[in-house]
Structures are given as C-alpha cells and as structure tokens.
C-alpha cells in the first residue's frame, strides 16, 4: 500500500519534471499549434470543397483520386479547353487566337505582364534617377519642381492615376477618322504608332552575327579594363566594347544583305497598320506605373545620395577628380549599394501593381485569369495559379537584384 502510494507520487513527480522540461514544453506547444492550423485549414478546405460540389465543380480539378498513380485528371484539366475570347495585344510576337486553349491565353497574359513590368522598370528607373538627382540641384526652381513631382505622384492612388491617364488623356486623343499625323508618328485614340523596322530574309543570320559581336565586345571590355588596372593608362574599355560590337554588327548587316526594312505606319480601313504600335490601354498602364514608381525611386535616390558623407566628395576633389569622375568612381558606387535594396522593393511593387491593368481591360496575367474565372467558375485553381505566378516573378526579380547587389559588394570589398 505504502509502496504503491510512493510509486504513484514519484510517478507524478516524474510527469511534473517532464512537463517542466523546456524541450517537452516546446514540443507540446508546437504540436498543439500545428494541430490547430491543420484543423482550421482542413475545415476551410472541406467547406469549400463541399460547396463547390453542390455547384458541380471540384476544388482540385487536376486531381483524380480514383485513377492510378500520378492521379492527374485528364478530363478535369479545364486549361486545355478552348478559350473562346480574343486578346488584342500580345507580346514578343506570341501568336494567340480565340481558338487556342485557356493555357495559351494565360501564357499570353503572362507575357504581357512581363512586357509592361519590364518596360516600366526601365523607364521608372531612368525618370526616378533624373528626378532624384534634380532634388539635389542647387537651382531652387529645379529642386522644388522635383519635390512637387514627388509629392504629387506618390500621394494619389495609383489606380486613380491609371484611370486618369486612360480616360482623360489617351482616350481623348484624336479619333481614327481624324488622326493626328505627325510625319514621324500617327496619334489616334486607338493606337499610337511610330515608324519601326521589320525583319527581312537574312535576319536570323544577322542576329547570330550580332550575338558574336556582343561576345567580342565583352571580351574587348575585359581585356581593356585589365590593361587599365595593370598599367593605370586610360584604356577606355567601354568605347572599345562599343566599337567592336558596332563594327561587327555593321559588317554583318551589309554582308547579310540589309535584313531590315523600314516599316512606316499608315491608316487603312479605320485601322492603324504597321510600325511600332501602342494601344491606349498599354500606354495608360505604362505611363501610370512609370510615373508613380519613379516618384518613389526618386526619394530612394535622394536619400542614398544624402547618405554619402560630404567628405567623400571633398576628398575626391582634393585628389583632382573632375565632377564626372567624382560621381562615377566615388559617389555612385557607394550610392548604388544603399540604393539597390529599396529600389528592388519598388521594382517588386511595380510588377505587382501591373495587375491593375485589369481595370483598363488590358489583358495581363491577372486580367486573363479573371476572364478564365468568370468563364469556367474555377476560382480556386486560377487564384492559386495567379499567386504562384506573382510569387515566382517576385522571387526572380529579388534574385537578380540580390545578385547585382552582392557583385557590387564584392567588387568594392
């Protein structure tokens, strides 16, 4: 009896010690947390799947649990069905028509997103750096005009700006029946067209020659900058690279029999034909995204220039460097290191914000996805697909920018 009592007391003590063990506490705590998350997740998903069943849809249309091993459902793959809607604007010459599948439509939208984000990033960087440097100008008018730009554009919602550019500017351009013909460009509210070049026979070969030229240019750059580093003599690696590339490109252009033809836009049948065209939807989206993001990049640029101690400029001046050299070799490399992380964030924002194209009826990946949702009712897989798409894009941009950033650190270490 007494022995039994003693053993149960020691049992209790053993359990209490166990319970006070931090590792046990951590294990129990995390298990409980995981169990709650999994249970709530299970409830939400089973709710969703139950309701989708009622309207004849499946939560996971690509999965066939009754089938054999990979459990992929062929009949449930609605992305293979005919899309039936047209996308007026495609990118990079990708061919798409209403008879293609939803998968093609989605891919077309994806390419459109890449095009508008890529161009937006390039233009926003150029304008942002320009405005950011202007903010530091000694000229009172210039610095305050830049300030006014920044405060105006970043304090008004982007969506409002996009709609403004679209309905109040681009759609108010002359109608196609009465186009504004500027000799170099045709401006209408259906399209703005600039003269461009179109490939002729021999274009492919010339492209290969150009690639070779680029390689030669890169080699020239490396050789000349090594010489400069080794001897200290000015060796102009940039000019050498440009020269090598230009010479090879020109020779190739003549040798392949002039593989480009000028393509002047014209109007026929109430349609703008030929040239480099931009629709008002794309134009409004690009203008809005660029000007909005440029305001934020300008603030980053200003901040990072201000972060460089004045002594750096003074020391560089004391060494006899000119104003351009001071900027190029002393200030800029240091600025870039501070500038790149916040600017990466702005690039990510621009890419995500390009989804607002939805409102302008420009078919980017989000716009295409939303059409597929309304046509098929498959909201769950499409929203999941959209999230994966944007997450991969974000990841890609972060990777590129981080690589650049770490290269900069390495070079200056």
């Amino acid at each position: 009896m007494a022995a039994a009592q003693g053993s149960s007391a020691s049992e209790l003590r053993r359990i209490l010690t166990l319970w006070r063990n931090v590792r046990v506490q951590r294990f129990v705590g995390q298990t409980v947390f995981a169990a709650i998350v999994i249970y709530v997740g299970y409830l939400l998903i089973s709710n969703m799947s139950g309701r989708l069943d009622q309207i004849g849809l499946s939560l996971f249309p690509f999965v066939d649990t009754t089938g054999s091993f990979p459990f992929i459902s062929v009949s449930g793959d609605f992305l293979n069905q005919r899309a039936g809607f047209d996308i007026v604007e495609t990118s990079f010459g990708y061919d798409y028509g209403p008879n293609d599948s939803y998968r093609d439509a989605y891919f077309t939208g994806f390419l459109n997103t890449i095009r508008v984000s890529g161009m937006g990033i390039v233009f926003a960087t150029i304008i942002g750096v320009f405005i950011g440097v202007s903010r530091q100008s000694k000229n009172w008018l210039v610095s305050h005009a830049a300030l006014a730009y920044v405060e105006t554009f970043r304090n008004v919602p982007l969506l409002l700006q996009l709609i403004f550019w679209y309905v109040a500017i681009y759609l108010k351009l002359p109608r196609i029946s009465n186009p504004l013909d500027l000799d170099i460009a045709i401006v209408t509210n259906k399209a703005i067209a600039l003269p461009f070049v179109s490939p002729e026979s021999g274009f492919g070969i010339w492209m290969i020659v150009l690639l070779a030229g680029a390689a030669a240019g890169a080699a020239a750059y490396v050789v000349r900058s090594r010489r400069q580093d080794a001897t200290g003599l000015p060796s102009h690696p940039g000019w050498w690279a440009l020269g090598a590339f230009g010479a090879i490109g020109l020779i190739g252009f003549l040798a392949t029999g002039l593989p480009l033809e000028t393509d002047t836009p014209s109007i026929a049948n109430r349609q703008v034909i030929g040239g480099l065209q931009m629709t008002p939807e794309f134009g409004a989206l690009l203008t809005g995204l660029t000007l909005y993001t440029a305001a934020f990049i300008a603030e980053n640029v200003r901040g990072s220039i201000q972060a460089i101690p004045k002594g750096q400029t003074e020391a560089a001046a004391a060494l006899g460097l000119g104003s351009f050299q001071r900027m190029r070799y002393v200030i800029l490399p240091q600025t870039l290191r501070i500038l790149i992380p916040p600017t990466t964030n702005q690039y990510l924002n621009l890419t995500k914000n390009s989804s607002l194209a939805f409102v302008l009826a420009f078919k980017d990946v989000f716009g295409t996805g939303s059409v597929i949702i309304t046509q098929t009712g498959q909201a769950v897989p499409i929203i999941a697909l959209l999230m994966i798409t944007y997450l991969s894009l974000s990841l890609f941009i972060s990777l590129v920018m981080n690589t650049i950033n770490s290269r900069l650190k390495w070079e200056n270490a």
């Binding site: 995390q30 947390f33 969703m48 008004v156 969506l159 909201a379 944007y390």
Partner: protein, 402 residues
C-alpha cells in the same frame, strides 16, 4: 525671417538669394529660364482647365455621393454622431498627449476650408463647424486643471480605452444601414481605419511569431507574411471575394464542432477581410523592424529581474518596439488609404467608385477629368498631411537620434 519653412528675405537679400540659387553661372541661368517657361506652360494649362474649360457642376451636384455614397440622407445622423465622438476624443487626446500647439491642427483645418466651402452647404457646413467645436471642447476638457494635473495618467488610460471602444461603437452605429449602401469617402475611411486597426494585433502576433524560437510557428508566420507580400493586393481581394464565402458562409461553417451561423459575407465585409489579411502581413514586417531595434540587453535585464516571457514582451520589448515604428505605421496607414481604392474591382462605391459613377451619369458624360482630379485632391490632402504629421512625430520621438 522664416514663414512655414521658407526663407522670406528683404529686397536686397532677395536679390542675392536669387543670384546664388537661380542665376549662378550661365548653365544655371539657362536652367532657370527653361524651368520658368516649363512651369509657366504647365500653370497656364492647369489654370485654363480649372477656370475655363472644366465644368465643376459634376462635383457640386454630387456632393453626397462623393462623401457618403448611397447612405440614406435620413440616416446621416449616424455618421455625424461618429464624427462628433471621434472629434471630441481627438481633442481630448491632443490635450493629454501632444506637446505641439493645437494651432497645427487648426492650421490643417483651415487648409481644408476651401474644400468645405466648395462642398458644404446649409446644415452640412454648420455640422462641420460643429465637429471642430467638438474637437475644441475635447481639448478644453483635457486642459482642465484636474485632467492636466493630478489625474493626467488616469485620464490617459481612460482615453486609450475610449479609443478602443470607439471602433465597435462606430461600426454598430453605422451598421444601422446595410453595408452595401456605404460609399464615397465614408467607405474609404471605414476600410482604411478598420482594416489597419483589426490587422494590428494580427501583425504584432505574426511579427512575434516570426521572431519566435519555435520552428513550426516561425515557419507558419514567415510563410504567411512572404506569400501575402509577394502577391498583388488585387489577388487577395479576389481571394476574399470568391473564396471566403465558400470557406466560411452563413450555413455550413463548423468551427471546432460548433456550427457558426450567420457569418455575414456582404461585399464590404469580404473586402475588409482581404484588406486585413494584406495589412497584417505588412504591419508584421514593420513591427519586426521595431523588435530588432530593441537592444538585446533589455530582454536580458528583464529576465535577470525575473520577469516571465509575457511580462517581458508586454512591459519591456513591445512598448519600445512599437514606439520606434510609429512613423512607419503612419506610412502604412497612408499607403493603405490609397490602396483601398482597389475595392473598385469588387464593384464597391468608394471614393474612386463614386467618381466613376458620376462620369457615367447622363448629365456628366465625359466629365471624367473633373471628377478624377477632385477626388485626387481629397486623397492628396489626406495623404500629404498625414505624411507631414508622421515626419513631425518622427522628430518628436527623436527616432534615429539616440
């Protein structure tokens, strides 16, 4: 002499200032001339539009739509009640906390007078002035000897509780009208204020979870934060719009074996849910920055004093962390205020939606520029003033100076 941050020099000094800042060398002079021409052209274009070609009747005929949307006129007293309570509380808090003169708030109010004159007529103007009086009343009450002296700390605690209570109070009062009728600036403000305040505790929890030493919790929090921050707000809104009613709807929801009925999934609530998810992830990152700014020694010292984890967090770490990130929180409020315009895609009539509705009215077809510029001005005034306020707070807190 300095007025509002600008140097106002006398004539001789003015000439020297101009020479140094505008005509310093031939390049600078050319730049100045070019800028003058550019600004002149821009001002002429804007002035010509504002005073000559624009028809502002599209705005004046739709005052109510811009401010409260389809909210019934007879029920507008609910909104006024909320405004008066918040204005009174604001005045009280200003008296209890701020070391800045209330002139700043009055200055901000004066800056908005042109808008009020333009918008307000009859009783609306009187009621607006009344809300300023409520602010003043709250301020005077807060400055009474008892509250500014002996009972100051008690008064502060009470004020904090009143602020917290004012949120459900406001919602219940406004909810006398179905949410589908809410619109205009009212809806924009409701989505922003409720969005950020509901998201705040979740944001703090996510930030703590991310800093946690429990791998499972950390993984969950990092996953949530990074996924939400990696996708556009519009996809989150779509998710809330399409998937939320599927996941938790009125009839089927069973949470922990208890059937939860009557979960309201009207569009406004769905949009709010999406905004809360979105804001929580961004707030979490801001709070994380604050947590990292608290020196390690603080936690260690608290541990040495024998405080447990909850006390360390509640009394030592969080107060310092949150204080350090107040400017960033205001910044997040501003960006959320602008981002709520995205609910337009869910066919809600927020400020931007109201503008779109006006330009679809038969009388005002083609008057998009006027309506859009008008609401842009409203957004701008709010966002700009708040960012200035945040800079002021940053200065007062001395963040980054210690």
């Amino acid at each position: 002499m300095t007025v509002a941050g600008f140097q106002i020099p006398d004539r001789r000094v003015a000439w020297r200032w101009a020479r140094e800042n505008l005509f310093d060398g031939s390049w600078n002079t050319a730049l100045t001339v070019g800028m003058v021409v550019l600004i002149g052209v821009a001002l002429y274009g804007v002035g010509n539009f504002v005073f000559a070609s624009a028809e502002w009747e599209a705005i004046t005929a739709n005052r109510k739509l811009f401010f409260i949307g389809a909210y019934p006129r007879d029920e507008a007293w609910r909104i006024w009640a909320v405004i008066y309570v918040l204005a009174g509380l604001g005045g009280l808090s200003w008296a209890l906390w701020s070391r800045i003169s209330p002139l700043l708030a009055i200055g901000g109010a004066i800056a908005m007078i042109p808008v009020f004159v333009f918008m307000a007529h009859g009783e609306v103007a009187l009621l607006t002035l009344g809300s300023l009086a409520a602010f003043g009343g709250g301020y005077a009450f807060g400055k009474t000897p008892a509250l500014s002296g002996r009972y100051r700390n008690t008064a502060r605690t009470v004020a904090v509780f009143l602020w917290i209570a004012s949120l459900p109070f406001s919602w219940v009062l406004l909810d006398g009208v179905p949410t589908r009728l809410w619109g205009g600036l009212l809806l924009t403000m409701v989505l922003t204020v409720f969005g950020i305040t509901i998201a705040f505790p979740f944001g703090v929890l996510l930030a703590l979870g991310r800093a946690s030493t429990f791998p499972v919790i950390r993984l969950f929090c990092v996953g949530f934060i990074e996924i939400v921050r990696g996708v556009p707000l519009i996809t989150i809104l779509f998710m809330a719009f399409f998937l939320l009613p599927l996941a938790i709807g009125p009839e089927r929801t069973i949470l922990f074996g208890i059937p939860v009925t009557g979960v309201d999934t009207a569009t406004v609530q769905r949009a709010l849910a999406g905004i809360v998810i979105f804001a929580a992830a961004y707030l979490a990152e801001i709070v994380r920055g604050g947590l990292q700014a608290v020196p390690r020694g603080q936690t260690e010292a608290a541990k040495a004093l024998g405080l447990n984890t909850f006390h360390i967090l509640g009394f030592i770490v969080l107060p310092q962390a949150l204080r350090a990130v107040i400017p960033a929180l205001v910044g997040q409020f501003i960006s959320l205020f602008k981002d709520t315009s995205l609910v337009l895609v869910l066919a809600l009539t927020d400020l931007l939606g109201a503008a779109r509705q006006v330009s679809a009215q038969p009388d005002f077809i083609g008057r998009q520029a006027e309506t859009l510029l008008f609401i842009a001005l409203i957004y701008w005034i709010v966002a700009f003033n708040m960012s200035r306020a945040s800079q002021q707070i940053e200065k007062n807190l001395g963040v980054g100076e210690r």
